[in-house]
Amino acid sequence: MKRVSLVFTLAIAAGLGAGLAAQAASAQTLKTIKDRGQLSCGVSQGLPGFSSPDDKGNWTGLDVDICRAIAAAIFNDPAKVKYIPLSAKDRFTALQSGEIDVLSRNTTWTLSRDTSLGANFAGVNYYDGQGFMVKKSLNVNSALELNSASVCVQTGTTTEQNLADYFKSNNMKYEVIAFANDDEAIKAYESGRCDVFTTDVSGLYAERLKFANPAEHVVLPEVISKEPLGPMVRHGDDQWFDIVKWVLFAMVDAEELGINQKNLDDMAKSDKPELKRVFGTDGNLGEQLGLTKDWVYRIVKGVGNYGETFDRNVGAGSKLGIARGLNALWNKGGIQYAPPIR
């Protein structure tokens, strides 16, 4: 399997060389997607709550809902998405080469990624932080007790660098075993090769669900980094950048305005000027984006508002049961805040 991904990287590297000319020159991402009849969306290889396929091969998750919302806004059909599962180390190359239109794969927004990869972050759909998980039997209560521990981690992530920083700044020694896949890292942790598994806290809760006995593992209280996760698009097509950015904003704004899948049709008939602008019965905001007037209606109908997808995938309504915390709306104690649709 790893061989495949190396071949994949090679192929993409070659593609970068040969195929970029057309990409860069035209940069008509929206038109390309419409012609193709499908959105190509880069997702993870299976992280419950964010992007994972069920037993029928249907993808679900918070990151998947971004792809679905974009497809809903373009095609009025959230199912018109082709999901491309990517490992952490292949994801940027896939975006650069044009293999995918948008990368929605629990990816941390950092300065170096924003500047050197030829891509832009379109916003933050989950505010996360890095944490540690250990076996309960080790009787460890704090990450500061982890001196000389072995740590399993997925390679090609900010996690690897945060880990080095954290242990160095606390004068602790450690051994890092880096795997190309999350699954392999988890397996090694489970078999006792490592004392600690580290990734974003949401990921720790998600991975813990996969264990035979989740109660045997604890997530330590320390959160050692800021990990704002969000979707990414290629440089060079500002219209497409705007579309992805505003689909995300629309979901957050819909929650703030109280629009959800149940009351959608009633809200659409409302006379409030704010709602009329959102639903496109007044003005042509959607068309300015290159979409249709009823773009928000399509998104909420197909996917729901931000709060709904959060609850369904990672929040109270899901197996993960993660509290909203930082991801609550700005007027409800969190920091999720979207610019106004007007």
Binding site: L117, G118, G192
Partner: protein, 408 residues
């Protein structure tokens, strides 16, 4: 009218200009200058396509504002690596990461080639053995291991090694010096003492003396037909001289004994399980192919050679060593080189079990942190090509030496 036939002296035609003919043949083959023109055209076209691709990539990368160039090698890596043969911390550069990964690849390849060759020769001789059981066991080994996918075998060894071993606190210890756990095998680390230098000198001297002795014995054998028994003297030299140095100048090394501290052992050196699993899988897998190559090579030598050897009064061992194996090596070497190259390239499967080889730390982590796919993949390809060409060159040199010693 008489027809006069002039008696022209028989004269050799002047030879065509050697240099120009040779050049013509070398460059254009049978087609001569016309062939050369086509070749020139082809090379020019190739160069043009190459420069066009490079220029195109440069322009497009710049247009998309993707960083390019090799400046990233100077930047700080910021991540750690579990096995480093040279000192390395997270605050070193990507260039250093490259070196660490390269050395890890070379380590597992060189040791793997050595082990695979040894196992391969033993299995081949076993399979040729008249002993029914031995030859069947060797045959079964070859058939089973070469027919299972290598990646599967690597993961098997990794999981099998890991699951079977206890955690460090319950590690299996030998005399409280060696510790085996799922963190790997921890052994005492040798630390150089002042006695090391004379010790090494004594060892070198002993080896030189032993070689001289062997030379003398061979000369006696060829010139006078006297066979000298020299191995007791060689053994005495090799053990005695270094021992004498240790007695005179003190012990060459002291050992740092590992101690369990917290989660893990501190002190001592450690073989990580990822390395052990990869080495085992690569060497046992490649050994099956080597065994078949060696068996084929030995069978290709006519059995009359063996009989001729014994009719000359040589022992069976001497016949094999002096007559059969050198001839078999001619057949064995080229495919053996292939296997060595395969093993080196297959070591990149390390990425599946978290062994930090070149592909894992450089074409993996470094690539995804810097996003500079083209540069990094190019460097990695170049390195594997260089390693492979070097291996081929060494093997060709060895083959050339053998064929020279065998005569035409």
């Amino acid at each position: 009218m008489s027809i006069s036939i002039e008696a022209r002296p028989l004269e050799a035609r002047p030879p065509p200009s050697q240099f120009s003919a040779k050049l013509q043949r070398a460059l254009g083959g049978r087609a001569g200058w016309r062939g050369f023109a086509f070749q020139l055209l082809f090379v020019v076209a190739l160069i043009w396509i190459g420069t066009e691709i490079v220029a195109n990539v440069r322009v497009n990368l710049a247009a998309q504002r993707i960083t390019s160039g090799f400046g990233f090698l100077e930047r700080t890596a910021g991540f750690d690596v579990s096995q480093n043969l040279i000192p390395y911390t997270g605050s070193d550069t990507y260039a250093r990461v490259f070196l660490v990964g390269l050395l890890n690849t070379l380590l597992v390849s060189v040791l793997g080639i050595f082990l695979a060759t040894v196992i391969g020769f033993i299995v081949a001789l076993g399979r040729l053995s008249p002993n029914w059981l031995l030859s069947r066991i060797a045959g079964a080994y070859v058939e089973v291991l070469r027919n299972l996918p290598l990646l599967f075998q690597i993961i098997f060894w990794y999981v099998a090694v890991l699951r079977a071993l206890p955690n460090p606190r319950q590690s299996i210890s030998l005399l409280d010096i060696l510790f085996l756990s799922n963190r790997g095998l921890v052994v005492p680390r040798p630390i150089a003492d002042p006695g090391l230098q004379p010790f090494i000198l004594a060892l070198v001297a002993a080896i030189v003396a032993a070689l001289a002795l062997r030379h003398y014995a061979l000369k006696q054998l060829f010139d006078r037909g006297r066979k000298l028994v020299i191995w007791p003297y060689v053994l005495a030299l090799l053990i005695g001289l270094p021992l004498l140095s240790a007695l005179l100048f003190g012990v060459p090394v002291t050992f740092e004994i590992p101690v369990l501290k917290g989660f893990n052992f501190s002190g001592g050196s450690r073989l990580i399980p990822e390395f052990v699993a990869l080495l085992l899988a690569l060497s046992t897998y490649t050994a099956t192919y080597i065994a078949e190559i060696v068996r084929g090579g030995i069978l290709s030598v006519h059995k009359g050679q063996m009989e001729a050897g014994s009719s000359l009064g040589l022992h069976r061992g001497d016949t094999l060593r002096l007559i059969v194996v050198p001839q078999a090596l001619r057949v064995i070497l080229p495919p053996l080189t292939n296997q060595y190259l395969n093993l080196t390239k297959n070591s990149s499967l390390a990425v599946a079990i978290g062994y930090p080889d070149l592909v894992s730390v450089f074409a993996g982590t470094t690539l995804s942190q810097t996003g500079q796919a083209i540069e990094i993949i190019a460097i990695t390809m170049g390195v594997y090509l260089l390693i492979s060409l070097t291996t081929s060159a060494i093997m060709s040199f060895y083959g050339w030496r053998i064929s020279r010693s065998l005569g035409p």
